[in-house]
Symmetry: C2
Subunit: 225 residues, 2 copies
């Protein structure tokens, strides 16, 4: 360590468990994903810090958490802004989903039973919410369904990647004016994918999932244009 420190000195020229920050991040994340803070909005350190009664340092840490989740973007000397996704971002996000989620299906056979149960529960939660006409919850259940598919790989890091990816995708869901029309058709598709998986028909499940991606991606891109 001391040797390394001496080395550092020569290179000067080149050069928490902070639960409050996490709570602040939770608040801001909710406001962003629910559309109360629209893409492009600038987030002033002073205003928000004063509003929440926290110091700038703590707030900056919360900003950093959300920047890492790609919900905010940080422009040097200009501040942080709510991320604005363009068509290219949406295409990239679906590209990653195709890679990760179809790979997950192929791992369904090796997955612990609990992981498969989570898939079924997400399907059923969506169907229950649809009966009650609660389309916001249907949307959440759909997210959980895809999160559960990824979970079949049984990898914490992949789970985290997908969690962030879906949060990012929510930024663009607000362009969909009609939540029922957007979410309802996926309920049947989700059940179909689950049943194919359960019956070991991996290839068919993969095909059904692929067609879901094609449709959803196109819907979003059309709505953005």
């Amino acid at each position: 360590m001391t040797e390394w420190l001496e080395g550092l000195t020569a290179r000067r020229a080149t050069v928490g468990r902070s639960s409050t920050a996490a709570r602040v991040a939770d608040v801001l994340r909710q406001d962003v994903t629910d559309g109360r803070l629209l893409p492009g909005t600038r987030l002033s350190e002073e205003e928000i810090g004063a509003a929440l009664g926290i110091s700038r340092n703590t707030l900056r840490e919360a900003f950093r958490l959300l920047t890492h989740e790609r919900l905010l973007v940080h422009e040097f000397n200009r501040g942080v802004f709510v991320r604005r996704l363009d068509a290219q971002d949406v295409r990239d996000l679906y590209r990653v989903r195709r890679v990760v989620e179809t790979a997950a299906l192929r791992h369904a056979g090796d997955a612990p039973a609990a992981r498969m149960t989570a898939v079924r529960q997400a399907v059923e939660a969506g169907e229950r919410a649809a009966v009650g006409g609660d389309w916001t919850t249907v949307g959440s259940a759909n997210m959980h369904f895809h999160q559960a598919l990824t979970g079949l790989v049984d990898s914490p890091r992949l789970d985290e990647t997908m969690r962030q990816l879906l949060a990012e995708l929510r930024l663009v869901f607000h362009v969909m004016a009609d939540p029922q029309g957007f979410h309802e058709p996926y309920l049947q598709g989700n059940r179909e994918i689950y049943q194919l998986l359960r019956d070991g028909k991996i290839d068919a499940a993969e095909e059904a999932l692929a067609s879901y991606f094609d449709v959803a991606e196109k819907q979003l891109l059309d709505a953005m244009a």
Copy 2:
């Protein structure tokens, strides 16, 4: 030419300007991935801040950046430490690699030509370095090879995921006492995978890659035990 110059001026903001925290993070990241700072080492705020001539607040910001990259871990009221990977981490990292990199091979046909060229160049760079006996460079070239495989998907987000994953994996490469013995066998495997890909033999390439993962994972886990 003049139009282009005006465009350049507008892009000054994106060139060569970064926060000191980001530059400090660069220095520390290099020292961690190169093994000058070994896993488990505690990083003292005061010592490092003094050595680099920066304030504690700025240094803490750099720590947070690297913590988000999983290269450091932050223990509340105890400080930050260089991350120490356990066997479970290694298994998870290879699980993600299997998902992402094998999916990448299946995209090889659709990939832009430049992406395929990058794969070939990584293979050749490794072979050149091996002739010179430069095993550190062979190791880097091997990283670049796998980064290039991921690049076949042509997805910025997947590229970033793999970049961070490989940086994390470097934390554990230092347990390998014999760099030549560790890296040399992969040179041939890399060339084989490249040639199979080039010839459109996707399934065979995938098989070769899978066996690489099995061997490398086992080697690392054995060395850790």
